[in-house]
Symmetry: C2
Subunit: 298 residues, 2 copies
């Protein structure tokens, strides 16, 4: 299939898990009714963003790959013939939990899973407490519309993740996301932070000649036992392989965004600006190092 | 030195080599008088962009590392105490020519050289005929203001080049450039092409927490023996480690752009959004491959 439609569900996730899941099911069904072949939900959409604090009680929110979050979408995918990217808090065993996304397709072998490879940890985003870094490597997933890539939030800052996923044949990189402003920082840094986030991902689209879909939460979620919280900045977007924005949501509303993927357009762009031809793979070994300037300068 | 000033010379390069060099010397001296510690010239600034055709006669334009293009700036650098990035068409031996940039500093050991690693070839930019790909690897250069990186034009589309140069300790990535519109494509694709160029480089700034300075030619240069030519799109820019534009030139004028580099700002940004901490260097080996999806899909 050389053309297909993708959608992102920008939603607030401050309801109970059961309510978030049923709300998401309705929105996914709505997106499918508008012609979407692939629909992406935001990171950990079934729960509030519990990583605002480090609280062992939150591990109760985790569930297996066969839990209700993922299985709720199996029937929808089969019935509607669509692919759904279903982020979930994965319990793999006592003591091993991942920030994951199930790739749910109509195929009998579905679902498959991606486990977030790069785990953040900064004030309000204490993910290193909860999540073991992914050990399934970067992946591209076979769907009825061809191969797609799924990466999660913090992964979006790493050109290596986008590059390897594109090399695996993905035509679209989906980034389920939960990013927002600290209300104390928004006035001074809000514009630059959001623009950096948008720019680095549009850059991945350009460098790799792929479509990118970044699907974020929206709305304010207070931090437990504090005056703070996160204002999720919405602004989910889909861009083409030149970084041209095809669809973009508001900063404060739940929205479904849709865009057409055209694999002929993708291939023409890779022919006109043939970046893939010229990678210096003989000179990239250093990328497996942590750092090269042992003086500590810069 | 935790703060210093950098400059880019956006210039037309359609004069004779002697005239281009003397013009550039005046502009570099002017930039230094405005406080610049590091000044960057456009790619191959000493000559018209001869790669619009494949003509063996153009090899006459090449010169050694000790030729007049580079040596013209040695005295300026020493006298004014500045660093100058001097792109030149390097003749290394009969049959081996590079698209290079000399890094000219006041130090007795100066200059050093970067040889363009990624060589383009598309209509109007027939560089693979002229230039052997660089074999000196990616480099960061020690200057009086610390380490800087130099990459050249087509390199700017490769996240790997930016990443490795940043890992070598560069606080600024300079990209001498010669990029423009094919007049036949400008109306349909001009905006998207320019924005892709700007975006991917701002993305390198964000992903690596470095300043980026892309310094382009400006003006129309006709193609020999044809109706065509290239309209170099100017719009040289300098951005900070969040991709925030600090200075940007017009699309049609010669200009000197200047901006301040603040290494404390750079370090604060790397602390607030600690991307460097979390690279999955255990999972990046695939970057040394050409492609991973042997089905040929996507």
């Amino acid at each position: 299939m050389s053309q297909f439609k993708i959608a992102g569900i920008q939603m607030a996730c401050d309801r109970s898990p059961a309510e978030n899941i049923s709300h998401a099911m309705r929105l996914v069904t709505n997106a499918a009714s508008q012609g979407a072949d692939v629909v992406c939900l935001p990171e950990l959409f079934a729960t509030p963003y519990f990583c605002q604090t480090e609280d062992p009680a939150c591990f109760q929110l985790s569930e297996s790959f066969h839990g209700s979050t993922v299985s709720s979408f199996l029937e929808i995918a089969r019935e509607l013939g669509i692919t759904v990217i279903v982020p979930f808090f994965e319990r793999r065993s006592a003591g091993i939990y991942h920030n994951s996304a199930a790739i749910v397709t109509p195929a009998p072998t579905s679902p498959d899973v991606y486990r977030k490879m790069h785990i953040p940890d900064d004030p309000g985003f204490y993910e290193k407490f909860y999540f073991t870094p992914g050990d399934l490597d970067f992946k591209a997933f076979t769907t009825p519309v061809g191969k797609i890539g799924v990466l999660i939030c913090w992964d979006q800052w790493y050109p290596e993740a986008a590059r390897i996923t594109a090399m695996l044949g993905a035509s679209v990189l989906f980034y389920p996301t939960a990013i927002g402003w600290d209300p104390d920082e928004k006035e001074d840094m809000g514009v630059a932070q959001h623009d950096a986030w948008r720019t680095v991902q549009r850059g991945h689209a350009v460098a790799n000649g792929v479509y990118v879909a970044a699907i974020n939460r929206v709305g304010f979620e207070p931090a437990p036992n504090s005056d703070g919280g996160i204002e999720f900045w919405g602004q989910s977007f889909i861009c083409d392989p030149q970084g041209v924005i095809l669809a973009e949501a508001s900063a404060d509303q739940e929205e479904i965004i849709l865009a057409d993927v055209d694999l002929d357009h993708l291939e023409r762009l890779r022919q006109m600006w043939p970046f893939w031809r010229d990678r210096r793979i003989d000179a990239y070994g250093a990328l497996q190092k942590r750092w090269l300037d042992e003086s500590g300068n810069s």
